[in-house]
Protein backbone atom coordinates (compact mmCIF):
# COMPACT_ATOMS: atom_id res chain seq x y z
CA UNK A 1 0.00 0.00 0.00
CA UNK A 2 2.74 2.38 0.98
CA UNK A 3 4.45 1.56 -2.26
CA UNK A 4 1.39 2.47 -4.28
CA UNK A 5 0.99 5.85 -2.62
CA UNK A 6 4.66 6.52 -3.11
CA UNK A 7 4.44 5.57 -6.74
CA UNK A 8 1.47 7.90 -7.04
CA UNK A 9 3.35 10.75 -5.38
CA UNK A 10 6.23 10.10 -7.73
CA UNK A 11 3.90 10.19 -10.73
CA UNK A 12 2.20 13.42 -9.62
CA UNK A 13 5.54 15.10 -8.96
CA UNK A 14 7.02 14.13 -12.28
CA UNK A 15 3.94 15.17 -14.28
CA UNK A 16 3.00 18.23 -12.24
CA UNK A 17 3.75 20.56 -15.14
CA UNK A 18 0.76 19.11 -17.02
CA UNK A 19 -1.49 19.98 -14.07
CA UNK A 20 0.00 23.48 -14.01
CA UNK A 21 -0.92 23.93 -17.68
CA UNK A 22 -4.50 22.75 -17.14
CA UNK A 23 -5.05 24.94 -14.06
CA UNK A 24 -3.53 27.95 -15.76
CA UNK A 25 -5.67 27.45 -18.86
CA UNK A 26 -8.85 27.14 -16.81
CA UNK A 27 -7.96 30.29 -14.88
CA UNK A 28 -7.28 32.18 -18.11
CA UNK A 29 -10.51 30.95 -19.67
CA UNK A 30 -12.43 32.33 -16.68
CA UNK A 31 -10.60 35.66 -16.83
CA UNK A 32 -10.86 36.26 -20.56
CA UNK A 33 -13.37 34.92 -23.08
CA UNK A 34 -10.86 35.53 -25.87
CA UNK A 35 -8.50 32.90 -24.41
CA UNK A 36 -10.05 29.67 -25.68
CA UNK A 37 -10.36 30.69 -29.32
CA UNK A 38 -8.53 28.95 -32.15
CA UNK A 39 -7.07 32.26 -33.29
CA UNK A 40 -5.65 32.97 -29.85
CA UNK A 41 -4.12 29.51 -29.46
CA UNK A 42 -2.60 29.69 -32.93
CA UNK A 43 -1.11 33.00 -31.81
CA UNK A 44 0.19 31.56 -28.52
CA UNK A 45 1.80 28.54 -30.11
CA UNK A 46 3.15 30.49 -33.05
CA UNK A 47 4.97 32.82 -30.67
CA UNK A 48 6.57 29.97 -28.85
CA UNK A 49 7.78 28.01 -31.82
CA UNK A 50 11.29 29.53 -31.67
CA UNK A 51 11.91 29.33 -27.90
CA UNK A 52 10.11 25.97 -27.79
CA UNK A 53 12.41 24.45 -30.39
CA UNK A 54 15.53 25.87 -28.70
CA UNK A 55 14.37 24.56 -25.30
CA UNK A 56 14.20 21.02 -26.71
CA UNK A 57 17.86 21.26 -27.71
CA UNK A 58 19.00 22.80 -24.43
CA UNK A 59 17.07 20.14 -22.48
CA UNK A 60 19.00 17.39 -24.27
CA UNK A 61 22.32 18.86 -23.15
CA UNK A 62 21.06 19.32 -19.57
CA UNK A 63 19.82 15.71 -19.46
CA UNK A 64 23.27 14.61 -20.61
CA UNK A 65 24.66 16.33 -17.52
CA UNK A 66 25.81 19.60 -19.09
CA UNK A 67 24.31 22.92 -20.04
CA UNK A 68 24.67 25.25 -23.02
CA UNK A 69 24.08 28.93 -22.37
CA UNK A 70 25.38 30.03 -25.76
CA UNK A 71 22.12 29.22 -27.49
CA UNK A 72 21.03 32.88 -27.67
CA UNK A 73 24.05 33.83 -29.73
CA UNK A 74 23.90 30.61 -31.75
CA UNK A 75 20.28 31.35 -32.57
CA UNK A 76 21.09 34.89 -33.75
CA UNK A 77 24.07 33.65 -35.78
CA UNK A 78 22.02 30.93 -37.51
CA UNK A 79 19.17 33.35 -38.18
CA UNK A 80 21.54 35.99 -39.56
CA UNK A 81 23.19 33.43 -41.83
CA UNK A 82 19.77 32.34 -43.09
CA UNK A 83 18.82 35.92 -43.80
CA UNK A 84 22.05 36.48 -45.68
CA UNK A 85 21.81 33.29 -47.76
CA UNK A 86 18.10 33.45 -48.42
CA UNK A 87 18.13 35.98 -51.31
CA UNK A 88 20.82 33.86 -52.98
CA UNK A 89 19.43 30.35 -52.69
CA UNK A 90 16.52 28.83 -50.77
CA UNK A 91 18.24 25.50 -50.09
CA UNK A 92 21.47 27.13 -49.00
CA UNK A 93 19.43 29.19 -46.55
CA UNK A 94 18.24 25.92 -45.00
CA UNK A 95 21.50 23.96 -45.05
CA UNK A 96 23.76 26.85 -44.02
CA UNK A 97 22.15 27.58 -40.63
CA UNK A 98 21.93 23.87 -39.79
CA UNK A 99 25.61 23.41 -40.58
CA UNK A 100 26.53 26.53 -38.61
CA UNK A 101 24.44 25.35 -35.63
CA UNK A 102 26.10 21.94 -35.71
CA UNK A 103 29.55 23.51 -35.98
CA UNK A 104 28.97 25.88 -33.04
CA UNK A 105 27.52 22.98 -31.04
CA UNK A 106 30.61 20.92 -31.85
CA UNK A 107 32.80 23.84 -30.74
CA UNK A 108 31.04 23.95 -27.36
CA UNK A 109 31.12 20.16 -27.15
CA UNK A 110 34.86 19.96 -27.82
CA UNK A 111 35.58 22.60 -25.17
CA UNK A 112 33.66 20.57 -22.62
CA UNK A 113 34.43 17.01 -23.70
CA UNK A 114 38.01 17.25 -24.96
CA UNK A 115 39.35 20.12 -22.89
CA UNK A 116 37.32 19.36 -19.79
CA UNK A 117 35.88 22.87 -19.48
CA UNK A 118 32.98 23.44 -17.11
CA UNK A 119 29.94 23.66 -19.43
CA UNK A 120 28.22 26.46 -17.49
CA UNK A 121 31.25 28.74 -17.62
CA UNK A 122 32.58 27.81 -21.03
CA UNK A 123 29.24 28.23 -22.81
CA UNK A 124 28.75 31.56 -21.04
CA UNK A 125 32.08 32.42 -22.65
CA UNK A 126 31.06 31.21 -26.08
CA UNK A 127 27.78 33.12 -25.75
CA UNK A 128 29.92 36.29 -25.70
CA UNK A 129 32.36 34.97 -28.24
CA UNK A 130 29.72 34.04 -30.82
CA UNK A 131 27.86 37.32 -30.28
CA UNK A 132 31.03 39.37 -30.64
CA UNK A 133 31.96 37.50 -33.81
CA UNK A 134 28.49 38.17 -35.18
CA UNK A 135 28.86 41.89 -34.46
CA UNK A 136 32.21 41.96 -36.23
CA UNK A 137 30.99 40.06 -39.28
CA UNK A 138 27.72 41.98 -39.68
CA UNK A 139 29.11 45.33 -38.60
CA UNK A 140 26.40 45.39 -35.96
CA UNK A 141 23.57 46.19 -38.36
CA UNK A 142 20.55 44.28 -39.58
CA UNK A 143 21.14 41.40 -42.01
CA UNK A 144 18.25 41.88 -44.39
CA UNK A 145 16.63 39.03 -46.32
CA UNK A 146 13.77 39.05 -48.80
CA UNK A 147 10.28 39.31 -47.35
CA UNK A 148 8.78 37.00 -49.96
CA UNK A 149 9.31 33.66 -51.68
CA UNK A 150 9.37 30.15 -50.26
CA UNK A 151 11.67 31.06 -47.37
CA UNK A 152 9.17 33.64 -46.13
CA UNK A 153 6.54 30.88 -46.05
CA UNK A 154 8.38 28.85 -43.37
CA UNK A 155 7.24 31.17 -40.60
CA UNK A 156 4.14 32.52 -42.30
CA UNK A 157 2.64 29.62 -44.26
CA UNK A 158 0.01 27.17 -43.11
CA UNK A 159 -0.58 23.49 -43.69
CA UNK A 160 -4.17 22.30 -43.29
CA UNK A 161 -4.87 25.57 -41.51
CA UNK A 162 -2.08 25.12 -38.94
CA UNK A 163 0.80 27.62 -39.01
CA UNK A 164 4.01 25.93 -40.13
CA UNK A 165 6.10 27.00 -37.09
CA UNK A 166 3.65 25.15 -34.84
CA UNK A 167 3.96 22.04 -36.98
CA UNK A 168 7.74 22.33 -36.88
CA UNK A 169 7.72 22.66 -33.09
CA UNK A 170 5.47 19.62 -32.70
CA UNK A 171 7.52 17.66 -35.21
CA UNK A 172 10.78 18.39 -33.39
CA UNK A 173 9.19 17.65 -30.01
CA UNK A 174 8.04 14.28 -31.38
CA UNK A 175 11.44 13.57 -32.94
CA UNK A 176 13.40 14.41 -29.80
CA UNK A 177 10.95 12.44 -27.66
CA UNK A 178 11.44 9.49 -29.98
CA UNK A 179 15.19 9.88 -29.79
CA UNK A 180 15.28 10.02 -26.01
CA UNK A 181 12.83 7.22 -25.32
CA UNK A 182 13.28 4.76 -28.21
CA UNK A 183 16.91 4.85 -29.35
CA UNK A 184 20.19 3.83 -27.76
CA UNK A 185 21.66 7.32 -28.23
CA UNK A 186 18.77 8.68 -26.17
CA UNK A 187 19.34 6.07 -23.50
CA UNK A 188 23.05 6.91 -23.45
CA UNK A 189 22.25 10.62 -23.07
CA UNK A 190 20.33 9.87 -19.88
CA UNK A 191 23.04 7.44 -18.75
CA UNK A 192 25.72 10.07 -19.33
CA UNK A 193 23.86 12.57 -17.18
CA UNK A 194 23.18 10.02 -14.46
CA UNK A 195 26.57 8.31 -14.18
CA UNK A 196 28.99 8.71 -17.04
CA UNK A 197 31.47 6.31 -15.41
CA UNK A 198 28.85 3.59 -15.59
CA UNK A 199 28.31 4.32 -19.26
CA UNK A 200 32.05 4.17 -19.92
CA UNK A 201 32.33 0.98 -17.91
CA UNK A 202 29.68 -0.62 -20.15
CA UNK A 203 32.03 -0.09 -23.08
CA UNK A 204 30.14 2.84 -24.59
CA UNK A 205 32.17 5.78 -25.88
CA UNK A 206 30.72 8.25 -23.39
CA UNK A 207 32.65 11.24 -24.76
CA UNK A 208 31.21 10.65 -28.21
CA UNK A 209 27.71 10.55 -26.72
CA UNK A 210 28.28 13.86 -24.94
CA UNK A 211 29.76 15.49 -28.03
CA UNK A 212 26.88 14.27 -30.18
CA UNK A 213 24.43 15.84 -27.72
CA UNK A 214 26.04 19.26 -28.14
CA UNK A 215 26.02 18.89 -31.94
CA UNK A 216 22.39 17.78 -31.88
CA UNK A 217 21.50 20.83 -29.85
CA UNK A 218 23.31 23.01 -32.40
CA UNK A 219 21.29 21.46 -35.21
CA UNK A 220 18.05 22.08 -33.34
CA UNK A 221 19.03 25.71 -32.69
CA UNK A 222 19.78 25.91 -36.42
CA UNK A 223 16.15 24.98 -37.18
CA UNK A 224 14.95 27.65 -34.74
CA UNK A 225 17.26 30.13 -36.45
CA UNK A 226 15.64 29.41 -39.82
CA UNK A 227 12.15 29.96 -38.38
CA UNK A 228 13.24 33.16 -36.64
CA UNK A 229 14.87 34.50 -39.78
CA UNK A 230 11.82 33.72 -41.88
CA UNK A 231 9.57 35.46 -39.39
CA UNK A 232 11.68 38.60 -39.01
CA UNK A 233 12.97 39.02 -42.54
CA UNK A 234 15.88 41.02 -41.14
CA UNK A 235 18.06 39.85 -38.25
CA UNK A 236 20.00 41.94 -35.72
CA UNK A 237 22.96 40.35 -33.85
CA UNK A 238 21.17 40.70 -30.50
CA UNK A 239 18.02 38.99 -31.76
CA UNK A 240 18.57 35.86 -29.65
CA UNK A 241 18.98 37.58 -26.29
CA UNK A 242 15.30 37.94 -25.53
CA UNK A 243 14.95 34.16 -25.63
CA UNK A 244 17.57 33.58 -22.96
CA UNK A 245 15.25 33.68 -19.94
CA UNK A 246 12.23 32.05 -21.53
CA UNK A 247 14.20 29.03 -22.77
CA UNK A 248 15.93 28.46 -19.44
CA UNK A 249 12.64 28.91 -17.58
CA UNK A 250 10.99 26.31 -19.81
CA UNK A 251 13.78 23.79 -19.24
CA UNK A 252 13.73 24.28 -15.46
CA UNK A 253 9.95 24.26 -15.28
CA UNK A 254 9.75 21.01 -17.23
CA UNK A 255 11.46 19.11 -14.42
CA UNK A 256 14.67 18.41 -16.33
CA UNK A 257 17.16 18.00 -13.49
CA UNK A 258 20.22 20.23 -13.49
CA UNK A 259 22.06 17.22 -12.05
CA UNK A 260 21.46 15.40 -15.33
CA UNK A 261 19.86 12.09 -16.18
CA UNK A 262 16.28 13.17 -15.54
CA UNK A 263 13.67 14.84 -17.72
CA UNK A 264 11.14 14.42 -20.46
CA UNK A 265 11.13 16.24 -23.79
CA UNK A 266 7.33 16.11 -23.78
CA UNK A 267 7.35 18.03 -20.51
CA UNK A 268 9.70 20.58 -22.04
CA UNK A 269 7.08 21.19 -24.71
CA UNK A 270 4.33 21.50 -22.09
CA UNK A 271 6.47 23.88 -20.01
CA UNK A 272 7.00 26.08 -23.06
CA UNK A 273 3.25 26.18 -23.62
CA UNK A 274 2.76 27.18 -19.96
CA UNK A 275 5.09 30.12 -20.48
CA UNK A 276 3.26 30.98 -23.70
CA UNK A 277 -0.06 30.98 -21.86
CA UNK A 278 1.36 33.25 -19.15
CA UNK A 279 2.66 35.65 -21.82
CA UNK A 280 -0.63 35.57 -23.66
CA UNK A 281 -2.57 36.03 -20.44
CA UNK A 282 -0.63 39.17 -19.59
CA UNK A 283 -1.44 40.59 -23.02
CA UNK A 284 -5.11 39.65 -22.84
CA UNK A 285 -5.37 41.15 -19.36
CA UNK A 286 -3.51 44.26 -20.57
CA UNK A 287 -0.67 44.04 -18.03
CA UNK A 288 1.81 46.89 -18.54
CA UNK A 289 5.09 45.94 -20.23
CA UNK A 290 7.31 46.76 -17.24
CA UNK A 291 5.20 44.54 -15.00
CA UNK A 292 5.28 41.79 -17.63
CA UNK A 293 9.09 41.78 -17.37
CA UNK A 294 8.89 41.58 -13.62
CA UNK A 295 6.44 38.70 -13.72
CA UNK A 296 8.71 36.86 -16.15
CA UNK A 297 11.62 37.31 -13.77
CA UNK A 298 9.50 35.99 -10.91
CA UNK A 299 8.40 32.97 -12.96
CA UNK A 300 12.07 32.23 -13.65
CA UNK A 301 12.90 32.27 -9.95
CA UNK A 302 9.82 30.17 -9.21
CA UNK A 303 10.94 27.70 -11.88
CA UNK A 304 14.30 27.29 -10.14
CA UNK A 305 12.63 26.72 -6.78
CA UNK A 306 10.09 24.37 -8.33
CA UNK A 307 12.87 22.41 -10.04
CA UNK A 308 14.75 22.19 -6.77
CA UNK A 309 11.64 21.09 -4.94
CA UNK A 310 10.64 18.30 -7.32
CA UNK A 311 14.21 17.03 -7.62
CA UNK A 312 14.50 16.88 -3.83
CA UNK A 313 11.09 15.30 -3.32
CA UNK A 314 11.84 12.63 -5.90
CA UNK A 315 15.18 11.95 -4.22
CA UNK A 316 13.47 11.67 -0.81
CA UNK A 317 11.03 9.12 -2.15
CA UNK A 318 14.03 7.11 -3.18
CA UNK A 319 15.69 7.23 0.24
CA UNK A 320 12.57 6.30 2.18
CA UNK A 321 11.88 3.46 -0.21
CA UNK A 322 15.17 1.75 0.52
Amino acid sequence: MKDVSKRLAQLCLSHSIVAVLILLSVAMALLSDKFFTAANWANVLNNLAVPGIVALGVALVVIAGGIDLSFSSMLAACAALAAWLQPQNFWLALIGPLALGAALGAFNGLLVVKLGANPLISTLGTQWLFLAALFIITGGGIVQGNMEGPFHLIANGRLAGVPLPILLLLLLAAATSFLTTQTSLGKYIYAHGSNNCGLRFAGVNANAVYLKTFVLMGLIVGVAGIVLSSRLGGVRPTEGNRYLIVVLTAVLLSGVSLNGGVGSLFHVLIATVVLGVIDNGMVLLAVEYKYQQMIKGCVFILAILYNNYTTKQLAMLRVSKR
Partner: protein
Protein backbone atom coordinates in the same frame (compact mmCIF):
# COMPACT_ATOMS: atom_id res chain seq x y z
CA UNK B 1 44.53 -28.57 -18.01
CA UNK B 2 45.78 -25.02 -18.61
CA UNK B 3 44.43 -22.66 -15.97
CA UNK B 4 42.18 -19.82 -17.01
CA UNK B 5 44.53 -17.25 -15.52
CA UNK B 6 48.17 -17.53 -14.60
CA UNK B 7 50.31 -14.82 -13.05
CA UNK B 8 54.08 -15.31 -12.93
CA UNK B 9 56.29 -13.15 -10.71
CA UNK B 10 54.12 -10.06 -10.97
CA UNK B 11 55.49 -6.81 -9.53
CA UNK B 12 53.69 -3.50 -9.35
CA UNK B 13 55.39 -0.34 -8.15
CA UNK B 14 53.73 2.96 -7.36
CA UNK B 15 56.77 5.19 -7.30
CA UNK B 16 58.93 3.60 -4.62
CA UNK B 17 56.06 1.62 -3.11
CA UNK B 18 55.92 -2.04 -4.03
CA UNK B 19 52.17 -2.79 -3.95
CA UNK B 20 52.49 -6.21 -5.59
CA UNK B 21 55.67 -8.10 -4.78
CA UNK B 22 56.58 -11.17 -6.82
CA UNK B 23 53.09 -12.69 -6.88
CA UNK B 24 52.45 -15.88 -8.83
CA UNK B 25 49.08 -17.56 -8.90
CA UNK B 26 46.72 -19.62 -11.02
CA UNK B 27 42.96 -19.57 -11.31
CA UNK B 28 41.29 -22.65 -12.71
CA UNK B 29 38.09 -22.78 -14.73
CA UNK B 30 35.08 -22.57 -12.44
CA UNK B 31 37.32 -22.03 -9.44
CA UNK B 32 36.49 -19.53 -6.70
CA UNK B 33 39.45 -17.81 -5.08
CA UNK B 34 39.14 -16.02 -1.75
CA UNK B 35 41.68 -13.25 -1.34
CA UNK B 36 42.36 -11.89 2.13
CA UNK B 37 44.88 -9.64 3.79
CA UNK B 38 45.11 -6.58 5.96
CA UNK B 39 44.39 -3.06 4.73
CA UNK B 40 46.88 -1.91 2.11
CA UNK B 41 48.10 -5.49 1.61
CA UNK B 42 47.71 -4.96 -2.13
CA UNK B 43 44.48 -6.90 -2.73
CA UNK B 44 42.79 -4.22 -4.82
CA UNK B 45 45.97 -3.61 -6.78
CA UNK B 46 46.23 -7.29 -7.66
CA UNK B 47 42.56 -7.35 -8.71
CA UNK B 48 43.09 -4.31 -10.89
CA UNK B 49 46.07 -5.92 -12.56
CA UNK B 50 43.98 -8.93 -13.44
CA UNK B 51 41.13 -6.68 -14.64
CA UNK B 52 43.54 -4.83 -16.93
CA UNK B 53 43.18 -1.54 -15.03
CA UNK B 54 46.84 -1.56 -13.93
CA UNK B 55 49.76 -2.70 -16.03
CA UNK B 56 52.22 -4.71 -13.94
CA UNK B 57 55.70 -3.23 -13.67
CA UNK B 58 57.11 -6.65 -14.51
CA UNK B 59 56.04 -10.26 -14.68
CA UNK B 60 53.91 -12.38 -16.95
CA UNK B 61 50.14 -12.53 -17.20
CA UNK B 62 48.64 -15.46 -19.14
CA UNK B 63 45.05 -16.10 -20.10
CA UNK B 64 44.36 -19.62 -21.37
CA UNK B 65 48.13 -20.13 -21.42
CA UNK B 66 48.64 -17.20 -23.77
CA UNK B 67 50.38 -13.97 -22.88
CA UNK B 68 48.03 -11.10 -22.20
CA UNK B 69 49.79 -8.03 -23.43
CA UNK B 70 47.19 -5.37 -24.24
CA UNK B 71 46.61 -4.15 -20.70
CA UNK B 72 43.29 -2.33 -20.71
CA UNK B 73 39.94 -2.98 -19.05
CA UNK B 74 38.43 -3.39 -22.49
CA UNK B 75 40.81 -6.09 -23.68
CA UNK B 76 40.44 -7.87 -20.35
CA UNK B 77 36.71 -7.79 -20.83
CA UNK B 78 37.06 -9.13 -24.34
CA UNK B 79 38.92 -12.04 -22.79
CA UNK B 80 35.95 -12.59 -20.46
CA UNK B 81 37.25 -10.88 -17.33
CA UNK B 82 34.72 -8.69 -15.57
CA UNK B 83 35.18 -6.61 -12.46
CA UNK B 84 32.28 -5.87 -10.13
CA UNK B 85 32.89 -2.73 -8.14
CA UNK B 86 31.70 -1.79 -4.69
CA UNK B 87 28.37 -0.02 -4.82
CA UNK B 88 29.79 3.32 -3.79
CA UNK B 89 31.80 3.62 -6.99
CA UNK B 90 29.31 1.55 -8.79
CA UNK B 91 29.23 0.85 -12.46
CA UNK B 92 25.46 0.91 -12.77
CA UNK B 93 23.45 3.90 -13.97
CA UNK B 94 21.02 4.89 -11.19
CA UNK B 95 18.53 6.72 -13.42
CA UNK B 96 18.10 3.79 -15.82
CA UNK B 97 15.94 0.78 -15.01
CA UNK B 98 17.26 -2.72 -14.32
CA UNK B 99 16.76 -4.05 -17.85
CA UNK B 100 18.33 -0.93 -19.40
CA UNK B 101 21.32 -1.41 -17.10
CA UNK B 102 21.72 -5.10 -17.85
CA UNK B 103 21.72 -4.36 -21.58
CA UNK B 104 23.73 -1.13 -21.38
CA UNK B 105 26.06 -1.09 -24.35
CA UNK B 106 24.59 -4.27 -25.84
CA UNK B 107 21.07 -3.20 -26.65
CA UNK B 108 18.64 -5.29 -28.66
CA UNK B 109 16.80 -3.56 -31.48
CA UNK B 110 13.49 -3.98 -33.24
CA UNK B 111 13.44 -4.24 -36.98
CA UNK B 112 12.62 -0.97 -38.70
CA UNK B 113 10.62 -1.41 -41.91
CA UNK B 114 11.77 -5.02 -41.96
CA UNK B 115 15.44 -4.03 -41.79
CA UNK B 116 18.05 -4.39 -39.04
CA UNK B 117 18.87 -0.70 -38.77
CA UNK B 118 19.65 -0.92 -35.03
CA UNK B 119 17.52 2.17 -34.56
CA UNK B 120 14.57 1.38 -32.32
CA UNK B 121 15.27 -0.32 -28.99
CA UNK B 122 13.42 -3.56 -28.37
CA UNK B 123 12.65 -2.84 -24.72
CA UNK B 124 10.16 -5.67 -24.42
CA UNK B 125 12.68 -8.31 -25.51
CA UNK B 126 15.35 -6.88 -23.21
CA UNK B 127 12.95 -6.84 -20.28
CA UNK B 128 11.87 -10.40 -20.97
CA UNK B 129 15.43 -11.66 -21.16
CA UNK B 130 16.36 -9.73 -18.03
CA UNK B 131 13.47 -11.35 -16.18
CA UNK B 132 14.61 -14.81 -17.29
CA UNK B 133 18.24 -14.19 -16.34
CA UNK B 134 17.42 -12.75 -12.91
CA UNK B 135 15.05 -15.62 -12.25
CA UNK B 136 17.68 -18.13 -13.32
CA UNK B 137 20.16 -16.61 -10.89
CA UNK B 138 17.57 -16.43 -8.13
CA UNK B 139 17.82 -12.66 -7.90
CA UNK B 140 14.72 -11.13 -6.39
CA UNK B 141 13.91 -7.68 -7.72
CA UNK B 142 10.47 -6.00 -7.69
CA UNK B 143 10.47 -5.32 -11.43
CA UNK B 144 13.02 -5.07 -14.21
CA UNK B 145 11.41 -1.72 -15.05
CA UNK B 146 12.42 -0.32 -11.66
CA UNK B 147 15.07 2.37 -11.74
CA UNK B 148 18.30 1.08 -10.22
CA UNK B 149 18.41 4.01 -7.78
CA UNK B 150 15.30 2.65 -6.07
CA UNK B 151 16.95 -0.74 -5.39
CA UNK B 152 18.67 -1.67 -2.14
CA UNK B 153 22.44 -1.94 -2.03
CA UNK B 154 22.34 -5.74 -2.18
CA UNK B 155 19.95 -5.72 -5.12
CA UNK B 156 22.22 -3.28 -6.94
CA UNK B 157 25.19 -5.52 -6.24
CA UNK B 158 23.25 -8.53 -7.55
CA UNK B 159 22.36 -6.67 -10.75
CA UNK B 160 26.04 -5.76 -11.20
CA UNK B 161 26.98 -9.41 -10.89
CA UNK B 162 24.16 -10.58 -13.16
CA UNK B 163 25.45 -8.16 -15.76
CA UNK B 164 28.78 -9.97 -15.88
CA UNK B 165 26.89 -13.10 -16.97
CA UNK B 166 25.40 -11.08 -19.81
CA UNK B 167 28.89 -10.02 -20.79
CA UNK B 168 29.82 -13.74 -21.10
CA UNK B 169 32.25 -13.47 -18.23
CA UNK B 170 34.66 -16.32 -17.56
CA UNK B 171 36.20 -14.67 -14.50
CA UNK B 172 34.32 -12.32 -12.21
CA UNK B 173 36.37 -10.14 -9.89
CA UNK B 174 34.57 -8.97 -6.77
CA UNK B 175 36.41 -6.46 -4.61
CA UNK B 176 34.65 -6.38 -1.24
CA UNK B 177 31.19 -6.99 -2.72
CA UNK B 178 29.55 -7.27 0.69
CA UNK B 179 31.25 -4.40 2.49
CA UNK B 180 28.27 -2.05 2.47
CA UNK B 181 25.18 -4.23 2.32
CA UNK B 182 23.02 -5.91 4.96
CA UNK B 183 23.74 -9.39 6.30
CA UNK B 184 20.63 -10.84 4.68
CA UNK B 185 21.64 -9.43 1.33
CA UNK B 186 25.19 -10.61 1.79
CA UNK B 187 23.89 -14.17 1.86
CA UNK B 188 22.20 -13.60 -1.50
CA UNK B 189 25.32 -12.17 -3.09
CA UNK B 190 27.34 -15.16 -1.85
CA UNK B 191 24.72 -17.54 -3.25
CA UNK B 192 25.07 -15.74 -6.53
CA UNK B 193 28.81 -16.38 -6.60
CA UNK B 194 28.13 -20.09 -6.10
CA UNK B 195 25.58 -19.92 -8.93
CA UNK B 196 28.27 -18.50 -11.20
CA UNK B 197 30.57 -21.34 -10.18
CA UNK B 198 27.86 -23.83 -11.10
CA UNK B 199 27.81 -22.21 -14.53
CA UNK B 200 31.57 -22.79 -14.82
CA UNK B 201 32.43 -19.14 -14.24
CA UNK B 202 35.51 -18.50 -12.08
CA UNK B 203 35.63 -15.72 -9.54
CA UNK B 204 37.94 -13.97 -7.14
CA UNK B 205 36.37 -12.50 -4.07
CA UNK B 206 38.11 -10.03 -1.77
CA UNK B 207 36.50 -9.69 1.62
CA UNK B 208 37.29 -8.82 5.22
CA UNK B 209 34.58 -11.21 6.35
CA UNK B 210 35.93 -14.75 6.85
CA UNK B 211 32.38 -16.08 6.50
CA UNK B 212 32.17 -14.74 2.95
CA UNK B 213 35.47 -16.38 2.08
CA UNK B 214 34.73 -19.74 3.65
CA UNK B 215 31.24 -20.08 2.13
CA UNK B 216 32.37 -19.37 -1.41
CA UNK B 217 36.06 -20.06 -1.94
CA UNK B 218 37.73 -23.24 -3.17
CA UNK B 219 41.15 -21.80 -2.49
CA UNK B 220 42.30 -19.08 -0.17
CA UNK B 221 45.17 -16.67 -0.78
CA UNK B 222 46.64 -14.41 1.87
CA UNK B 223 48.50 -11.25 0.89
CA UNK B 224 50.80 -9.27 3.13
CA UNK B 225 52.50 -6.05 2.05
CA UNK B 226 52.19 -7.08 -1.56
CA UNK B 227 53.51 -10.62 -1.07
CA UNK B 228 51.52 -13.83 -1.30
CA UNK B 229 52.18 -15.64 1.98
CA UNK B 230 49.56 -18.37 1.73
CA UNK B 231 47.81 -20.28 -1.07
CA UNK B 232 45.80 -23.18 0.29
CA UNK B 233 42.72 -25.22 -0.55
CA UNK B 234 39.85 -24.49 1.80
CA UNK B 235 39.65 -28.07 3.14
CA UNK B 236 43.32 -27.91 4.19
CA UNK B 237 42.90 -24.90 6.42
CA UNK B 238 40.56 -23.29 8.90
CA UNK B 239 39.27 -19.86 9.69
CA UNK B 240 41.56 -19.67 12.73
CA UNK B 241 44.56 -20.56 10.64
CA UNK B 242 43.80 -17.89 8.09
CA UNK B 243 43.09 -15.25 10.71
CA UNK B 244 46.33 -16.20 12.45
CA UNK B 245 48.17 -15.84 9.14
CA UNK B 246 46.79 -12.34 8.71
CA UNK B 247 47.42 -11.32 12.32
CA UNK B 248 50.80 -13.00 12.73
CA UNK B 249 51.84 -11.55 9.47
CA UNK B 250 50.86 -8.19 10.85
CA UNK B 251 53.01 -8.70 13.99
CA UNK B 252 55.88 -9.84 11.85
CA UNK B 253 55.63 -6.82 9.61
CA UNK B 254 55.46 -4.55 12.65
CA UNK B 255 58.64 -6.00 14.09
CA UNK B 256 60.25 -5.78 10.68
CA UNK B 257 59.30 -2.17 10.42
CA UNK B 258 60.79 -1.39 13.83
CA UNK B 259 63.91 -3.24 12.77
CA UNK B 260 64.09 -1.38 9.50
CA UNK B 261 63.53 2.08 10.85
CA UNK B 262 66.87 2.75 12.54
CA UNK B 263 68.80 1.66 9.49
CA UNK B 264 66.62 3.70 7.12
Amino acid sequence: MTPLIELRNIYKFFGGLCATNDVSLTIGKGEVIGLVGDNAAGKSTLMKIIAGVHKPTSGEYLIDGEKFVAHSPRSARNAGIEMVFQIQDMALVPELDVADNLFLGKELYRKTLGLNLNLVLDRRAMQERSRVLLHELGINIPAVTEKVKYLSGGQQQSVSIARTVFFDARLVILDEPTSSISIKETRKVLDLILQLKAKGISSIIVSHRMDDIFTTADRILVLRRGRKIEDVRKEHTSMDDIIKKIINAEKESMSQETLNQPTA
